[in-house]
Amino acid sequence: MKAGDVKVCVLRIEGTNCEDEMYQAFKMVGADPEKVHLKQLTGQVSDSLKRDIEDYDILAFPGGFSAGDYVRAGAIFAARIRSAIGPQIRKFVESEKPVLGVCNGFQILVELGLLPGLDDVMSNEPTAALYTNDSARFECRPTLLRNDNRGKCIFTSEVPKGKVLMIPSAHAEGKLLSMDPKFVDRLEENDQIVFRYVGEDGKDAQYPWNPNGSPSDIAGICNPAGNVLGMMPHPERVLTRFTHPDWTRGYESEEGDGLVVFRSVMKKLL
């Protein structure tokens, strides 16, 4: 497959607001992205606008405040997907096509039961929650993420293990919770922990470097198969060096730290 043949569905509903950056990210790595409204997949539009999820190679859930974050962040988007195209989404994931959820997108993947996916590819009910930050506030600042994945996640194949990336966070509900006391151990065993927040010294993050109080400083996880990644920070906001806060002060790379997530998944597909 050529890069230009990789069709990416950047899925949105009302209240999604990071679809342009997500679209641009896939464009920059040579893919063929399209911003698609959920109604285009569920057929509630005129024929020329109808789309089929099966025709896409990658599904991406951008950030934002889908449906106004009412009920719970991501819950309404997830419920609408589940009721209208749940089986197709399950099939998409089972065929190991890549699915990315950033920020609100991560919240949607958790509400949809695709993450953490410990016992089933797509559970009927959420098995985890992205819950209100410890500070009870919207936390918005650059964060440092260390790639802790041992090789399962297809979105970090081009990131050396242990490498720290600067990727900004902007969320009010990012604390990953489960009622299973062995939750973090199980994620670790399965190689599902992808990114952890770290402090300026590269060690364990304290607030504000861990913006939400997530256990074990978890910022992003993948499913047991490694093809679904959800992360709270926004890689699509640092595609070039110019959106890094320190770009005039010795930032060496031409590329922004977030682009590698998109390069990695393309490398896996081509």
Binding site: V71, A79, E111, E125, P126, A136, L177, S178, M179
Partner: protein, 79 residues
């Protein structure tokens, strides 16, 4: 016509930053003796069906949308 109230509460053991912050603020405003504050979400609805069916429908709504069973409990009260 049935009227139901759905209460979504946090499970025991789940931290409640909104409740905690509210309590701190109330204390700073001079309210004394505030022992605890919990945030609760309430949905009030009218349904065109019997009370029994409305209760069942309310519970189904909680399972499908209104509550996340990992962190929340729900209660459907017929009014």
């Amino acid at each position: 016509m049935a009227r139901i109230e759905i209460r979504i509460e946090l499970k025991k053991g789940v931290a409640d930053p909104e409740g905690k912050n509210t309590m701190k603020t109330l204390e700073s405003l001079g309210f004394e003796g505030v022992k605890s504050v919990s945030s609760v979400k309430v949905f009030d609805m009218e349904l065109d069906m019997s009370e029994e069916d409305a209760k069942k429908a309310g519970e189904e709504m909680c399972r499908k949308l209104l509550a996340n069973p990992v962190i929340q409990n729900y209660k459907v009260i017929v009014r």
